[in-house]
Structures are given as structure tokens and as C-alpha cells.
């Protein structure tokens, strides 16, 4: 049960495994079909935040017919409060590359890209060194797979998978309409697997140790472990690998400073949970867990009672207003109006009831915005305004 679940520290992701060559050569001795089944039975879901079943994604791409296919590692880590992918790429990059090559073998892709955010450019040189070594080994075992680093240039929206592909194609990073999904028509219109950095590392663990090892961790619907990026008002900020399914109460007990007023789960596009709901909230994907289950790309930001929730929301909205790509009206205008709106209420230029109008606006954005950015503004907006209404007004 979620409420009695204790925090369980695990060490898979950063464990130093010196045998990636062996893992790669052994894995590609198995048939793609067996490997896909292994991955599906692990119940691994995407670790970027959206939680799409990874095995299914690889399966769909492997079944798509095309001469050209691609594997992309999404390292455009831009969600406020997330910093785990950088740590993975600097500490265990070979696990990511191995997973990409295995994915290439399974799906028939011969080219892989790492889309690295511009803010992490200092990692590029080191990554390319490891890629050279990796390439050498691939040639040795006659595996036709090449990896390149593609640099982003400072745009949060490029973390959205289709915006990222537009960006790689040399265009403005504006999300595409879905469907078609990348598994059918991704980069250059070709079938593409795009996975978060952490997701790829979990597949390395699964191929090395077997699906059961992974499946036995976590809880129903939320199997395995997850990296959490912990920041804000906490005595021990940092990156922690924990089993999924823990209650937020236990999390705060471990990481809080004794005065935790609220936790933002999943970054600015996630949900704010106030103290009175800690015990009902579990961290994991939607399922039959009692209470609220909160998916997250791993961003956990703690706020203590010295923090004004108005300032927090103001900061998020400014972020969204700047990072909205501007392509669709609900998001472009919506983000601007929400920011103007909460400021007007705070100044007293608008009555408190205006907040309800703004809540309805976020609902409209949720239904009509083209991509996850505009759709998810409602998450933090409604969870902050509903739980801390007085702080928005006075």
C-alpha cells in the first residue's frame, strides 16, 4: 500500500558497469522479437514524464516499414527542477550508447542522435570521446550503428519530441500535430524511437539483468526505479534513485526541512501538493493506487513556510510565457493572460472571483493547446490557486 511504503534507495543507474561491450554483444545475439518481449514484460514506462510504455514504442517502430529509421536520445532536459539526465551523461554515458545501439538492432535503425540541450554544451567534447570508443567497438562486432551529438540552442519546448525533431531538421522548434506519432513518422518523416536519457539506461539494466529484476522493484503500474532530482528547501538537495510508488509523506519525511509547506512534483508543468495532502499522494504512474498518483520526470521541489506561493506561480507563469513556442493561440495568449491575471488580482485591480475565470482559461488550454506545454499549465496553476487561494489574493 502506498501509505506504508518506505523510501527504498537503489543503485542501478549510476552503478559502474565495466562490461558494456559484453552486454552489447550478448544482447544482439538474441532475436529482436525476444528482446521486445523482455522489454514489454519489464513494464518500463518512459522516464521523461509522460510514461509511455517503452517496449511498445520499440515494437511499433520495429514493425514500421522503412529503409531509414532513427533512434534519438532526448537530452533536452529543461523542466524546472530536473537535472538527472546531465548526471547520467557525465557518469555513465556508455550505458546510454549501448541501449541506443540495442534499440537500433531491434528496430532496424542505423543512426542515433543525442539531442543535447545548449546549456549542457560543456559535456559535448567528453561525450564525443566516448562515442569514438563506442564506434570502434561497434565496427569490431560488425554492428552497423553510428551515434552523433546534436546540440540544442536554448528552447524548453524542444524537449517535446516532435518539436525536437523539427529543431533537428533545422527549423523552429514548433511541435507537430499527432498523429502521426514518431514511431511512424519522426525525424525526416521516418520511423523514430525517441526516449529520455534515463529510460535508455533502464533498458540497459533490463537487458543485462533481465526484466524480472526490474519488474520486482516498485509497485503495480509503476515498476522499477526512478531518479529524483531533489531541490528547493531541503537539507540534502541532489539526485537519488528510489523505487517508484513511495508516498509523498515518506518522501518529505526523508527530504524535508521539518517545515515543508508544499512539494512541486514534476516541475513547473507538474502538480503542487500541499502539506495536508502528502499522505494521500503517491509517486508513480496512474493506476489503482489509493489516493492521488503523481507521474513525474523526477523533479521534486520542496517549499517551506517562508515561501510565497504567489511568487512561485508568478515564476512558473513567466517561464511558460517565455517558453511557449507561440504557434497555437491557446498557449501563446493563455500564458500571457494568466500571468497578467494573477498580478491584477494581487494588486486588487481585479476581484478575487477573477481567479475562477483564470481557472476556466487553464481548462480551455488543457483541451485546446497543441502540445503538452500549453496543456499542462493547468496542472500547476490549478493546484496552486485551489490550495493557496488566500496567498493569491492578499
Amino acid at each position: 500500500m502506498a501509505n506504508s511504503h518506505q523510501l527504498k534507495r537503489v543503485d542501478f543507474i549510476f552503478r559502474n558497469e565495466n562490461d558494456w561491450e559484453k552486454v552489447l554483444s550478448n544482447t544482439i545475439k538474441k532475436t529482436p522479437r525476444d528482446l521486445i518481449n523482455e522489454l514489454i514484460s519489464s513494464e518500463l514506462k518512459g522516464r521523461g514524464g509522460a510514461g509511455f510504455p517503452t517496449g511498445l514504442k520499440w515494437k511499433l517502430t520495429s514493425e514500421a516499414e522503412s529503409d531509414e529509421k532513427y533512434v534519438i536520445c532526448n537530452a533536452d532536459e529543461g523542466e524546472p527542477g530536473t537535472f538527472k539526465d546531465r548526471e547520467i551523461l557525465s557518469r555513465v554515458p556508455y550505458k546510454v550508447f549501448t541501449a541506443m545501439a540495442i534499440c537500433g538492432y531491434i528496430t532496424g535503425a542505423r543512426e542515433g542522435f543525442i539531442y543535447l540541450r545548449g546549456e549542457y554544451k560543456f559535456l559535448k567534447e567528453e561525450l564525443e570521446k566516448v562515442i569514438d570508443e563506442f564506434d570502434y567497438y561497434c565496427r569490431e562486432i560488425k554492428l552497423d550503428f553510428k551515434i552523433k551529438v546534436f546540440m540544442g540552442s536554448g528552447a524548453y519546448i524542444c524537449g517535446e519530441e516532435t518539436a525536437l525533431m523539427e529543431s533537428m531538421e533545422g527549423k523552429r522548434g514548433e511541435p507537430r500535430n499527432k498523429p502521426p506519432f514518431p514511431t511512424q513518422a519522426g525525424y525526416q518523416g521516418k520511423p523514430t524511437v525517441i526516449n529520455n536519457v534515463e529510460t535508455l539506461v533502464h533498458t540497459f539494466t533490463i537487458f543485462k539483468y533481465g526484466a524480472k529484476k526490474f519488474y520486482d522493484l516498485g509497485v503495480q503500474y509503476s515498476r522499477g526505479t526512478k531518479l529524483f532530482s531533489v531541490s528547493g528547501d531541503t537539507p540534502k538537495p541532489g539526485i537519488y534513485e528510489l523505487e517508484l510508488g513511495m508516498s509523498l509523506q515518506d518522501f518529505v519525511y526523508e527530504f524535508g526541512d521539518g517545515d515543508t509547506k508544499a512539494v512541486q512534483v514534476g516541475g513547473a508543468s507538474g502538480f503542487l501538493v500541499p502539506r495536508k495532502k502528502f499522505k494521500d499522494a503517491a509517486i508513480g504512474f496512474k493506476g489503482k493506487l489509493t489516493g492521488i498518483s503523481l507521474p513525474t520526470g523526477g523533479s521534486m521541489m520542496l517549499f517551506n513556510s517562508s515561501r510565497s506561493m504567489f511568487n512561485v506561480l508568478d515564476n512558473y507563469l513567466e517561464f511558460f510565457r517565455e517558453e511557449s513556442c507561440g504557434q497555437c493561440t491557446p498557449c501563446r495568449v493563455g500564458c500571457q493572460q494568466l500571468l497578467l491575471g494573477i498580478k491584477a488580482v494581487k494588486r486588487g485591480d481585479k476581484p478575487a472571483a477573477y481567479l475562477d475565470k483564470l481557472l476556466r482559461l487553464t481548462e480551455t488550454m488543457q483541451y485546446t493547446a497543441k502540445c503538452g506545454l500549453g496543456q499542462s499549465v493547468a496542472n500547476s496553476f490549478s493546484s496552486i490557486v485551489e490550495n493557496f487561494r488566500e496567498e493569491m489574493i492578499y
Binding site: 524546472p80 533545422g170 523552429r172 513547473a268 515564476n315 513556442c325
Partner: protein, 161 residues
């Protein structure tokens, strides 16, 4: 040939002249010239045989592809939530006071440009900033003064008045 022309041609030789090579080429120009001038964007368009408006349209989408003149060093201070909570403003004041410029401005000697940016991914070591590609974390006004003095010393600068 104009040095910009040569630079763009060299970059196109390295990366290619297809549309998917546009970002690497623009990034290459920014690395050398610190920003994309009108001339360089026209040159890129000519070299790649695409409309200049497409180059400009793409460039202006990305916050790290500046289209206005910037200094040799661009300082980007993170303003997103954790950095904002952990003293970003004090760091910003210290920089402004030292360089005698406001946010968005460049020092008259074209050494430093001061900007704010969104989440840099160093929330556990907030506040953070970038100077070009270099990362600096757990900043305090004292620490940021030391860092900037180092940069100024390297460039034979005794301070701004």
C-alpha cells in the same frame, strides 16, 4: 573574401548544406562571432540556398542564437524558481554593480553582456549562471565578484566606472 563569408563557407563544408545542417552552422557562427549579424544570416542563406527569412525565423526562435550584438562573454543568470528562491537577485545586483550595466545591456568595451535565462538544470546547486558555455554554481555576491574579476584580469581590465 569577407571573413564572415569564409567562416560560413567553412562551416557549410564541415556540416553540409542541407536544411538539417542549419542549426550547427548557426551555432558555429555564434561560437566565433558571439552573435548572428544580419550579414552572417544573409551569407548562411546564400550558402545554403534557402530564403534569408527562414534563417532569421529559425535563429530568433532559439534563445542561445543571439541576433543582436553581444559582448565577448555572455553571462546568463538562471531566474527559474529554485535559483530565484536561493538568492538570484543578490547575485544579479552584484554583477550589475560590478559591470555598471543593467540586464540586457553590454559593457561599452564589448566584453560582457548580461542576460537572464530559464532553468539551467543546476537547481540542487542554486543559484547558477553560465558565462558562455562555462557553468558556475552555488553563487553568492562574493563568489560572483571573484569570478568576474578573473575574467576581467585575463582581458587587462581594471574595472568599470
Amino acid at each position: 573574401m569577407d571573413p564572415i563569408q569564409t567562416l560560413v563557407k567553412d562551416l557549410a563544408d564541415i556540416h553540409g548544406r542541407k536544411r538539417e545542417n542549419l542549426l550547427p552552422i548557426m551555432q558555429g557562427v555564434v561560437e566565433k562571432e558571439h552573435y548572428l549579424s544580419e550579414l552572417s544570416m544573409i551569407e548562411i542563406a546564400r550558402e545554403m540556398d534557402i530564403p534569408a527569412a527562414d534563417v532569421y525565423g529559425t535563429a530568433t526562435f532559439y534563445s542561445f542564437l543571439e541576433t543582436k550584438s553581444t559582448g565577448k562573454y555572455t553571462i546568463r543568470v538562471c531566474k527559474t524558481i529554485t535559483c530565484a528562491m536561493k538568492g538570484k537577485n543578490q547575485v544579479l545586483f552584484a554583477i550589475q554593480d560590478m559591470l555598471k550595466i543593467k540586464l540586457g545591456e553590454t559593457t561599452p568595451d564589448h566584453q560582457f553582456t548580461l542576460l537572464e535565462t530559464n532553468c539551467l538544470g543546476w537547481c540542487h546547486k542554486a543559484p547558477a549562471m553560465l558565462i558562455n558555455d562555462e557553468v558556475y554554481t552555488e553563487l553568492t555576491p562574493e563568489k560572483v565578484r571573484e569570478i568576474l574579476s578573473e575574467y576581467m584580469k585575463q582581458n587587462g581590465n581594471n574595472g568599470y566606472h
